[in-house]
């Protein structure tokens, strides 16, 4: 397996996840081992049912593994209380979902600001940071629009701004380009790649979109709940 440079952000150690429904068991992950380092731009790819979304959910502390250990910045997630996990998601993890998932009653500004408000960041600082972020993702002038007044691509940009607002250790993006057209997908990926380049933000995608894989610098291929390939692209590739 390749060993990218940087500090480990999150580590999967022999992680399994079994979903049980009645007598039926579905093995979503079968002993997954993966380490993502800071500053990486990783795409976990594979066919539907290969376990990539499950891996993201587990890494984002939204779900618990059946066995194995997951560490975020060296901390074993299994040792944390619900409250501590809530703080961890708020402070160290950013999420970008396939279906945008903004809070519909909040404006673009307020959606992007929400995590900072949860962190207790002062209002003036929140305003400065969020306005800059919205500008960075190309939404200057649209701060006061609600999600239903924005296109799918614009909503996803707000979701990206929300995810990076708190300076998290890693951003987990689950099929972020699945619901947008090609042009918008390219723009979103450009934005995320730039944020990765300029700010050193770690991105981990689950995807089967070739465009994402084109931008990714590390490709982790999954089949049937296990990592089948793990490839770091050569620089300039």
């Amino acid at each position: 397996m390749p060993q990218p440079s940087g500090t480990p952000v999150f580590q999967f150690e022999n992680v399994t996840k079994i979903y049980r429904k009645g007598a039926m068991e579905t093995h979503a992950l079968r002993g997954m081992n993966l380490t993502v380092h800071s500053g990486e731009f990783v795409a976990i790819w594979g066919p539907s049912g290969s376990g990539k979304t499950t891996a993201l959910n587990l890494g984002g502390a939204l779900d618990t593994p059946t066995s194995g250990t997951i560490r975020l910045e060296g901390v074993d997630l299994a040792t944390l209380s619900r409250k501590a996990l809530s703080r961890l998601r708020r402070d160290r993890i950013g999420f970008v979902f396939q279906a945008y998932n903004l809070i519909p009653v909040l404006t673009a500004f307020e959606n992007a600001e929400a995590v900072l408000a949860l962190q207790g960041v002062a209002a003036s600082e929140r305003r400065d940071r969020v306005m800059q972020l919205l500008k960075d993702v190309g939404l200057a002038g649209m701060e006061h629009r609600r999600p239903n007044e924005l296109s799918g691509g614009q909503q996803q940009r707000v979701a990206i701004a929300r995810a990076i607002a708190s300076n998290p250790a890693v951003i987990l993006a689950d099929e972020p380009t699945a619901n947008v057209d090609s042009e918008t997908a390219e723009k979103l990926l450009t934005i995320m790649a730039r944020l990765n380049e300029e700010r050193g933000i770690t991105f981990v995608f689950s995807t089967h979109d070739p465009r994402v894989m084109k931008y990714a610098r590390r490709l982790v291929g999954m089949v049937d709940g296990a990592i089948a390939t793990d490839e770091v692209k050569a620089s300039g590739e």
Binding site: G60, L62, S86, R90, F95, V105, L106, A114, G120
Partner: protein, 416 residues
Amino acid sequence: MTGLQLVSLAWRNLWRQRRRTLLTLVSIAFGGFLAVLMTALQDRSFADFIDTAARMGSGHVTLQSPEYQDAPSLIHAVAHSDELRSEALKDPRVAQAVGRISGQIMVSTASDSFGALFIGYDPTQETPETFEFADDLVDGALFTAPKQKGIVLGAVLARNLGAELGDKIVFTMTDHSGKMVQNVQRLTGTVATGAPSLDAALCLLPIQTVREAVGYADDETTQVAVFLKDGRNSQRVAAALRAKLGSGVGVLTWDDVQPEIRAFVAMKVGGGRVMEIIIAMLVAAGIFNTIFMSVMERTREFGIMIAIGYSQTQLFLLVILESAILAVLGLFSAIAVSAWPYYYMSTNGLDMSAAYAASGTIEISGVGFDPILRVGIFPENAVIIALVLMGATVLAGVYPAWRAGRVQPVEAINLV
């Protein structure tokens, strides 16, 4: 996240389904209106009823001989009734205190005889607030002095006796030692209270005429009737007077003297409370439905909120705040809906005379209900209704709020 931001979010969430929220507010307002109207009708009619009973009887608080309650005979008199009146009037909750002599009497004319209840009263002490019969005169005149010739009868009693104004009425009663005494007066007036049983057995006499007939001293009475500014203070005032006057004087409240009225009021108030609880439960069920639906519809959103860092407690508080805002808005809606009908019913009232005429006069233990229905809620009951309304609304949100806080993010986010 500050509380203000959470309140702002809750407010906006509430108006996502504007029509549903408005319908919920209408149901809260209507529930509040019903509760206010029912309670106000009950409060006013029973307060008036008790006041009427007190005026017809022996006050909100009665001072009498300790033996009189068990053996209501003129043998058991209260000496120095003027001193007792003075003591009672020192209490700021007391509006008036009057001396009265009451008991059983036999009234006769040449054609017939009937047993009756007599009240010997001092017209110079009585006021419209203490003397129920001032407005009930149908013929002749009431007394104006403590010593005056004449007798006033209930209109039905006079008719049964075949007596007209100016006719001689012979009356027989026991004196202060238990011996039979007889007197004769001319009929000077008739009264109709609206309570048929009372109108058929009421006899009014000037107090001094009675004293002379039964051999009482000038300040002897059978009762000192104490009237309060607010009849609900009767227990407290009675306790204060008991402490002040000692065991030599029997101190009773209106409901000790007329336990059948107490039982009737308690039964009606209890029934009213049950109705209020049913209304509160119906309102709460409507609110629960609204909030629960709203939470279930937002399961996915709550999953996202947990994913981005909202805590379970914050989601719980968010939904509780939505309920609380609904409660406050509901309260104002209820006030708005109730204000005009309440004002109209408290000033003009609803004339039920026609209904009473069809079904006969409403009378309990010789006390008639006013055929004009009016409202007047006791302030503490208004506060209770407001608290119950708001409490039921907020409580209805507790389970949905708990559900919101327990959302599993992975399952919720994957909901389509």
